[in-house]
Amino acid sequence: MAQYIIKRLLLLPFLLFIFSIIAFILIQAPPGDFVTSYIAELAASGSAVDQAQIDALREQYGLDQPMTVQYFKWMGNILQGDLGVSLDWKKPNNELIRERFALTLALGVFTFLITWSIAIPIGIYSATHQYSFLDYFFTVFNYFGVATPTFMTALVVMYLAFKYFGISVTGLFSPEYVDAPWSWDKFVDLLSHLWLPALILALDGTARLARVMRANLLDELKKPYMEMARAKGMSEWRLVMKYPVRLAFNPLVSTIGWYLPLLFSGSLIVATVLNLPTIGPLLLRALIVQDMFLAGAIILIYMFLAVIGTMISDILLAWLDPRIRMEGS
């Protein structure tokens, strides 16, 4: 087991290295460098463009140097914990991202917990009560859950909340806490706002997961070990929970690998609609105004989260399934 984990962890820096190259190419993709767009922006706003200042900027980011040099300069700074400066916000990226990153994580993890705690009971119920009324009901619910883009749910919820309760459900904090320093009250305030976007985000995942759980469990319920456990004299409920549910969990855990990253980056759209202070809307704005170092930093963070998600699911799977564990060692 330990060997398996170490093997996976050794892969991490390698993956991140490749991802950082992809991220770098992505932020280099727009035509012209960001200083050009910065000058255009300055010119458009009527400010004077100082050639010396431009040259200083170009030199600072090594823009006059070859791509590889630029890449290593960028990566070198990031490895030292410096994500660069946002030209749009005129602030260090670290400062912009820090709190929003924590909130992104909180939203993702919270949504994840909601998804699993709703989807698994639904999946178990549907599989053990196949073709019952509730099974059909959940099946319909799942189809709609998958078919509705999360931002549509967000828009509809926003509209209904406004129309029937006259409230605006945007943001993650009440106005008085937005700029306040962290305190217990602020945390409670966060929780009171976090559940709604988390629920909206969880809809799609819950639907998918419940379907996966139902299908897996239905497969497992037909296996001969079920008959054997029955023949041992186990009660039906106990044996369903001990064997098929346990086995159906394995493929479910492997969904964490794609679901967790999807949650972090998928929350981006809902966050934009509901105006949540996560890194998603920051990325969107950075991409639109071509604030490429900020965009690059955020994309790198998303990639990092994705790799971590895959890693967690691999390790959990090895822990749950002795067959995979043995294979690894």
């Binding site: 932020i27 078919a147 828009l155 509209y159 969107l284 991409l287 994309i299 994705a306």
Partner: protein, 393 residues
């Protein structure tokens, strides 16, 4: 000495799960058994599919939506780009039957009042006036399928010269007819999904097939590539790629760039599936048997292997289209995908991006319903095809 009583025919549960002849265990056996034994695979799939009522209905819905994508001009009532700033935010005008004066089909006219406080035009139904509507009415001129010039529309005002207009789904900020825009958006959104999936299938089959058939180092490299692409977070990557498309590109250029970007990450799932199929099929008895009786490689692949999974690929692509549609919709919704003057569902929903617009004109959310219905229908259809094609998995 052990002596087996080999059963003359194996019992139905033990039939092998693959192979064209294997799928013969249909419940309505009995007298039709003979017909089932000789039926080709696609016929068996169709028989099974027919039993899935909901999938059948979804198939019809999908075909209907596809006709909209082919003939948006015919279904629309007004030119999609025609704006009229006075007539902004008109609420939807419902189609009604049998007016008092004997008109069969009509809508209630609207009248505008300027709100004294906000100075905004507010449109209310005009109880007095009705606009007679007729089927196959004359409207703006267009070329059907880009070929046949005509001016016939499914719905239109009875008297085109009266200057009357009606808006089944209301109008937007610029007074454009939402219904007609939705029809045109259907063409773009649906075709992007379809083309992106076709590109993905092409890439997936090509690379997955190469990987699964040749094995060895080739397989290893392609496998690692798939794993790498799959562990990338797709949404930020798509956003970054679409954001880097030059602003001055034409609608067509953007359109094709977006389909390519979407399929760039989308082919991996299919590629993996195709590879897995190839690998497991190589071990199957009927493939080994075909090789042993001396079939050439191409014959083994195309006569024996491919037929066992092309229905599976159809199912997988039917299920992939809605994913692509949702992806295009959210990219355009965020302002990174199709851009005005192009019309797609995402572009339409962009008008409903903030609370102010929705509070003022909730009908701007209706294109979302089109997304949901389309995705729902395609998903159910895809599930139905998959169940019919692959009853054992």
């Amino acid at each position: 000495m052990s002596t087996n009583l080999a059963p003359p025919v194996s019992d139905p549960q033990n039939l092998p799960p693959t192979g064209d002849e294997a799928a013969v265990v249909l419940p309505d056996i009995g007298r039709d058994a003979e017909a089932i034994y000789v039926a080709p695979n696609w016929k068996l799939v169709w028989w099974r599919f027919k039993k899935h009522r909901l999938a059948l209905v979804s198939g019809i819905v999908v075909i209907f939506i596809a006709t909209i994508a082919l003939l948006p001009e015919f279904y629309s009532t007004l030119p999609p780009h025609e704006s009229d700033s006075i007539r902004s935010f008109i609420p939807p005008q419902r189609l009604r039957f049998f007016a008092g004066d004997g008109t069969f089909l009509y809508v209630q006219d609207v009248k505008g009042q300027r709100n004294q406080k906000t100075l905004m035009m507010e449109w209310v139904p005009d109880e007095e006036k009705i606009i007679p509507v007729k089927l196959f009415a004359r409207g703006f001129e267009y070329n059907l399928l880009g070929l046949i010039p005509t001016d016939i529309h499914l719905l239109g005002v009875e008297n085109p010269d009266s200057g009357q207009k009606f808006h089944l789904l209301g109008t937007d900020r610029l007074g454009r007819d939402q219904w007609s825009r939705l029809m045109f958006g259907t063409r773009v959104s649906l075709s992007i999904g379809l083309i992106a999936v076709m590109l993905s299938i092409f890439l997936g089959i090509l690379l997955g097939g190469i990987s699964g058939y040749f094995g060895g180092t080739t397989d290893l490299i392609i496998q690692r590539l798939i794993e790498l692409l799959q562990s990338l977070p797709p949404i930020p990557i798509w956003m970054a790629l679409t954001a880097s498309l030059p602003r001055d590109w034409s609608v067509e250029q953007t359109y094709f760039a977006i389909t390519i970007i979407l399929s760039l990450l989308g082919w991996t799932t299919l590629g993996r599936e195709v590879r897995g199929r190839f690998l497991s099929l190589r071990e199957e008895d009927f493939v080994v048997a075909a090789e042993l009786i001396g079939c050439g490689k191409p014959r083994v692949i195309f006569r024996h292997m491919v037929p066992t999974f092309y229905s599976h690929i159809i199912a997988a692509s039917t299920l992939a289209i809605p994913v692509m549609i949702i992806n295009e919709t959210f990219l355009s919704f965020l302002g990174l995908g199709m851009r005005p003057p192009a019309i797609s569902w995402g572009v339409l929903l962009q008008e409903a991006q903030n609370l102010q617009s929705i509070a003022l004109a909730p009908w701007l959310l209706l294109p979302g319903l089109a997304v949901i219905i389309t995705v729902l229908a395609l998903n159910i259809l895809g599930d139905g095809i998959r169940d019919a094609a692959d009853p054992y998995s």
